[in-house]
Amino acid sequence: SQQGEEDPQALSIQEGENATMNCSYKTSINNLQWYRQNSGRGLVHLILIRSNEREKHSGRLRVTLDTSKKSSSLLITASRAADTASYFCATAGGSTLGRLYFGRGTQLTVWP
């Protein structure tokens, strides 16, 4: 399966701390995307990192990709209560370009 798998399943931290979530996958990819979801509805796109990239930043977010280990990490710095949500990684590529394979997600809770 190409499906990404996030680790940990749940993460609970205090405001101001950093949160790190990891994603592992099994096959070659074209890109890997991170999403946030609140209240089980629409997914908000955070960052896309392509297979030839190693690191990307967006505001307080930093994503790394290690294709040799087939893994990615999402770091949220200086977390806020509003960051509380489920975070998903999704991979695209191989013979099914365009189709995203999602992991089960990490539930992040940030306490004020």
Binding site: N30, N31, Q33, Y35, G40, R41, G42, L43, V44, H45, L48, F88, A90, A92, T96, L97, G98, R99, L100, Y101, F102, G103, R104, G105
Partner: protein, 113 residues
């Protein structure tokens, strides 16, 4: 500009009835996707449209599910003879190209009684 929109936001139906779910992608996006999310199965790919090419239907769970994309824009997902296991949130997404970011709509929550 406007994001992906979906309608209805909620749909409650009786087992055995047909339902239609609508998706309006971001203008200019050539690729359109349907996924569904349920507690037991997580986020599952259903079908993918790219331009005028034949859609990738490999994720449709049964022949009760079908989808169309008219004029390269609006898409309709149809579920015939709904079953209780069809209850889920159905999410639509679009992207400029298949290799680009996919932007999701708010979803349609389908409940089959």
């Amino acid at each position: 500009g406007a994001g992906v929109s979906q309608s209805p936001s909620n749909k409650v139906t009786e087992k055995g009835k047909d339902v239609e779910l609508r998706c309006d992608p971001i203008s200019g996006h050539t690729a359109l996707y349907w996924y569904r999310q349920s507690l037991g199965q997580g986020l599952e790919f259903l079908i993918y449209f790219q331009g005028n090419s034949a859609p990738d239907k490999s994720g449709l769970p049964s022949d009760r599910f079908s989808a169309e994309r008219t004029g390269g824009s609006v898409s309709t997902l149809t579920i015939q003879r709904t079953q209780q296991e069809d209850s889920a949130v159905y999410l639509c997404a679009s992207s400029l190209r298949p290799v680009d970011e996919q932007f999701f709509g708010p979803g349609t929550r389908l409940t089959v009684l």
